[in-house]
């Protein structure tokens, strides 16, 4: 910052021609490494709360959306291949695989929501899927992550009319077709994005097929 520094033009040589001692090199790298590490540890701690808060809110918003605005939500955790109300000690709530159960004001179960994924046209297509386990009817889905082709495949996330084609369909399992349909278990795919549309259908089928038996086993085992 000093004024004379600038008027010098070029500063003096920082190191002697003979080179620096190994100790000095080691010290320099160790110093900058640990300084950087210390600063990052502090930044990490300061940003951890908002980052986790956002991740939690994102999931909660998705669950509410796919269940059509439940009054209360119960969370079950997948431990091994069984559902449990308790998270195993030491496990991270955000990392754990979860099933969300939504209830209306009267306390009746309106549906369950789970996160599932499958490879799409480009990379993974990850959805929050909401369905009624009693009837098998879909209550909604929300795309959590996708990298499908902009303008074509990414309509699975951006085109609301595509999502509405799935409303109330019975997963038995779900099938796709290129033509308009009124069949309760068939959905019309997007023009130009058949693979992306089918990926959505596949995730939904996978969600119901994997999670319905788990939920039934849990309820048989005395879970509420």
């Amino acid at each position: 910052m000093s004024g004379h520094e600038h008027s010098h033009g070029a500063p003096a040589a920082p190191t002697p021609d003979a080179g620096s001692s190994t100790a000095r090199l080691l010290f320099t790298l160790a110093f900058f490494g640990s300084l950087g590490g210390g600063i990052l540890a502090y930044t990490y701690q300061q940003t951890l709360t908002p980052i986790r808060k956002f991740a939690g809110e994102k999931v909660e918003a998705a669950v509410k959306e796919v269940l059509g605005g439940p009054a209360t939500i119960d969370t079950l955790f997948l431990v091994g291949d069984k559902l449990s109300q308790e998270l195993p000690a030491g496990a991270d709530v955000l990392e754990a695989t979860k099933l969300f159960i939504g209830f209306n004001e009267a306390g009746e179960r309106i549906g369950v929501a789970v996160e599932e994924w499958t490879p799409g046209f480009a990379a993974e297509v990850r959805l929050m899927v909401g369905f009624n386990p009693t009837t098998g009817a879909l209550t909604g889905f929300k795309v959590l992550a996708q990298t499908e082709t902009p303008g074509l495949g990414d309509k699975i996330a951006k085109d609301t009319s595509f999502a509405s084609r799935f409303m109330g369909k019975i997963v038995n399992p779900l099938k796709g077709t290129k033509n308009p349909t009124t069949d309760p278990s068939t959905v019309q795919t997007l023009t130009g994005a058949t693979i992306s549309s089918k990926a959505v259908i596949k995730v939904i089928n996978k969600a119901v097929e994997t999670w319905k038996p788990r939920l039934e086993a849990y309820e048989k085992g005395g879970g509420k």
Binding site: G9, P11, P14, G19, L40, T47, G151
Partner: protein
Amino acid sequence: MTAIGVEIAVDAPEPIVPGAPSPQPLWLDFWRGIADDNPVMIQMLGLCPTMAISNQVSNGLGMGAATLFVLVCSSLLISSLRKVIPNEVRLATYILIIATFVTISDLVMQAYFPLLSRTLGAFVPLIVVNCIILGRAEAFAGKVGVRRAVADAFGQGFGFMVALLIMCIVREVIGSGTFLGFQLFGPHYEPWVFMIMPPGGFLTMGLMFLTMGWWGERKKAKLAEVAK
């Protein structure tokens, strides 16, 4: 042969000063980064993030701001420590300093601009290996005083942002029919989706370089005419 070889090896660690940039007024250090020595349009550096994230104006602003932050902070630190950092490990030290600032900006973005952070994805952490930053550290900040280094960093950072925004505006307006997410042309406009996909990026970048080249040639011709 061997004797000469040994001699060269002994002489190898050169003092940094000979390569130092010639003295110039501070405003020129700043302005050079935006126009005559623009990192993207003239130096052709940082093309990878420029191609990858330039399909939305918000991306360009976020990426530009993150790069500017890293560039200014690392140039400031590297320039003020240039007499302390041994020549032999200067690049490793620069990378450590740069990586620290990049990670800070990545974490802060994740915490306070989560949606932007999600669309930029891996390209924020990848600022570490952005040639613009290491290039400035090695060619400029490590050899000049703090004020010049900071002026240069601001110039290069804004220059990068300007180039990004040119790409982003062209691609978003044509490819999505929006500007910063606002509809521009009403519901009947059919966006030319091609522009927000990678080929559209190459096309836009090519046209941008073409314009810059034409402009540079014209400037040169005018100067030659004046010289006559």
